[in-house]
């Protein structure tokens, strides 16, 4: 019994590392993990999504990431995506370890890495906006252009800063104290006169991600009322509702 509980706890922790790329949050906090059971020594995990028409490429990405992190625990694993228009296709692909191309056949060209990368960049942009808007509010005297000079070491040691650092690491940006905060996807700072525009654009990315996450959480609760108990809010989110 004890070992079962321990394994399930480890599994939950592992699934906490699986991120919904569009919403930039762990699938555990979103309530996407429907159940976890140990059946005859095999870990069986059911996943659920807010609608049966959630994009199949992201659905597959999350389900296959889930299987990858669980397999690392050294036990046999079955991951099943429930109630999705592509459940049959995706579950068959997962069971056979067929990979993305093996699962989707002619609908797949190469892989989903470019897609993942695009959303890691968006997640970084949104995290950057969150810290800079806070910084601006805490420093009344600062004009937006002056955010140009803000470096990582200037930021408070809170959740929002830690989230930014993680997202920089994910896209290969340096995380030293003297690194500028407002940078493009390649880590290059913008000229000061462009800062207001870039911040504004970053805001629209953040509004999109936070708003979608909020909507998807709500839809999941409408679809599966028992999922409310499993959902945890984003720790470093601006008030959106």
């Amino acid at each position: 019994m004890r070992t079962t509980d321990e394994l399930l706890e480890k599994a939950r922790q592992a699934l906490g590392r699986v991120i919904d790329p569009e919403l930039d949050e762990p699938i555990t906090d979103l309530g996407f993990v429907r159940s976890m059971d140990l059946v005859d020594g095999e870990l069986v995990v059911h996943l659920r999504l807010p609608t049966s028409f959630c994009a199949p490429n992201f659905a597959y990405l999350m389900a296959s990431d889930a299987k990858d992190v669980l397999t690392e625990l050294g036990t046999r694993v079955t991951v099943l995506l429930d109630d999705h228009h592509d459940s049959e296709l995706i579950n068959r692909g997962l069971a056979a370890d067929a990979g993305y191309r093996g699962t989707f056949g002619p609908e797949a060209d190469e892989d989903l890495e470019q897609l993942r990368r695009t959303f890691q960049r968006k997640a970084h942009t949104a995290a950057m906006e969150r810290v800079l808007v806070r910084y601006l509010r805490a420093h009344d005297e600062l004009a937006e252009e002056q955010l140009h000079a803000v470096v990582l070491g200037d930021l408070p040691g809170d959740d929002a800063t830690r989230a930014l650092v993680c997202r920089r690491q994910a896209i290969g940006l340096p995380t030293g104290r003297h690194e500028p905060v407002l940078v493009d996807d390649a880590g290059e700072p913008y000229p000061p006169e462009e800062v207001p525009l870039r911040l504004r654009l970053a805001r629209s990315v953040r509004v999109s991600i936070d708003g979608n996450a909020h909507f998807c959480r709500g839809l999941l609760r409408t679809r599966y009322p028992d999922s409310a108990a499993d959902q945890a809010p984003r720790a470093f989110q601006e008030k959106v509702s």
Binding site: F53, A55, D109, D111, L201, S208, T222
Partner: protein, 343 residues
């Protein structure tokens, strides 16, 4: 017409449907999944008093549509934006004949837009020419994630799509409404990405491209292209109902749209029958940016008038009654002082 605090608003609901999702019309499980997804949207974002029973939601019929929009919903004119979804429904999801008949019966109240699918290639192109004449088309609704044979989506800059857009231009069909969905080929890419709209908006400067749900869930991509392409517009389908359950999120959407586009390129819609217009119109007229969102300023009465009806009326050459025509000196800036005075 909606009247509040002495102000009259001409209402155009720029995105409505007459659908049939009853079990006898469902071709397969996806027909049920699709309408259930819509129903969850409806239940999740509607005020409790406005939630329909599931059975009513499957098919609303013409009589109820007329009542919900024009008797109860303050709408002056509405535009059908049908999705066929032939892969999910035997007789299609949007009911072409029923909707068109209703529009013929009430030409002052209803405009019928139709749809095309570039994957029908030449046959579909010929059909488009016939449809344009039969329906008197001013606009087209495209759902890029429509399933068709082995394909589950297309892009607007695919070679055949470009030919269809050329044909629209020749036929005088100027308004192209784009609804992005979750599937596309190849699945390697983000199906919601609006980069293809950017390309066709440049190539077809005489066409208007109305991106429905203002690009959500990719608001940022949409805003960025709309800034650069003057013929790209924002449709508020799906975005509107956030005004009730998530007013701060709604404020951010509207605030960003006003910043990146302008007040002339945003169109109200209820997305009927996903939601009904009555409560959306009432709440929108009452809406104001929360005080702590200082970055957004004020949403003026003049801006509300444009968004609720005047913008779409201009795009569709609708007759706007005299009472709805704004005074010549009213623009957004003047609207500000005016609405304070009316307060």
């Amino acid at each position: 017409m909606y009247t509040k605090d002495g102000e009259n608003y001409f209402i155009v609901d720029a995105h409505i449907a007459l659908w049939d999702a009853r079990p006898e019309n469902q071709r397969n499980i996806h027909g049920k999944q699709f309408i259930d997804c819509f129903y969850d949207y409806h239940r999740n974002l509607s005020p409790e008093s406005e939630v329909w029973p599931y059975e009513d939601y499957l098919y609303q019929g013409g009589e109820r549509l007329m009542r919900d929009l024009f008797t109860d919903g303050y709408v002056d004119h509405a535009i059908f934006q049908p999705a066929l979804l032939s892969a999910f429904y035997t007789n299609g999801f949007g009911q072409t004949e029923e909707a068109f008949a209703l529009a013929q019966q009430h030409p002052d109240k209803l405009t019928y837009n139709h749809c095309w699918d570039p994957r029908f290639e030449q046959a579909g192109l010929d059909q488009l020419t016939r449809d344009a004449e039969r329906f008197g088309l001013k606009g087209i609704k495209l759902y890029t994630a429509e399933w068709q044979g082995d394909s589950r989506g297309y892009k607007l800059d695919d070679p055949w799509s470009m030919r269809y857009l050329e044909r629209c231009q020749e036929l005088g069909i100027r308004n192209i409404h784009i609804h992005k969905g979750p599937t596309i080929r190849p699945l390697d890419r983000d199906a919601f990405d609006v980069a293809d709209v950017d390309k066709v908006a440049t190539d077809f400067p005489d066409l208007n491209f109305v991106v429905e749900h203002c690009g959500l869930p990719r608001l940022e991509d949409f805003c960025w292209i709309a800034t650069q392409e003057p013929n790209v517009h924002a449709g508020l389908a799906v975005a509107m109902p956030f005004i009730h359950t998530r007013p701060r999120y709604f404020a951010q959407i509207i605030g960003e749209l006003l910043y990146w586009l302008d007040e002339d390129r945003i169109q109200f819609s209820s997305d009927y029958a996903i939601w009904t217009p009555k409560w959306l119109v009432e709440k929108f007229v009452d809406f104001q940016f929360p005080e702590d969102m200082t970055e957004y300023g004020e949403l003026t009465t003049a801006q509300k008038r444009k968004i609720l009806g005047l913008n779409a009326a201009r795009m569709y050459d609708l007759d706007v009654p005299e009472w709805a025509v704004p005074p010549a000196d009213e623009d957004a800036t003047e609207g500000k002082t005016e609405s304070v005075a009316v307060g």
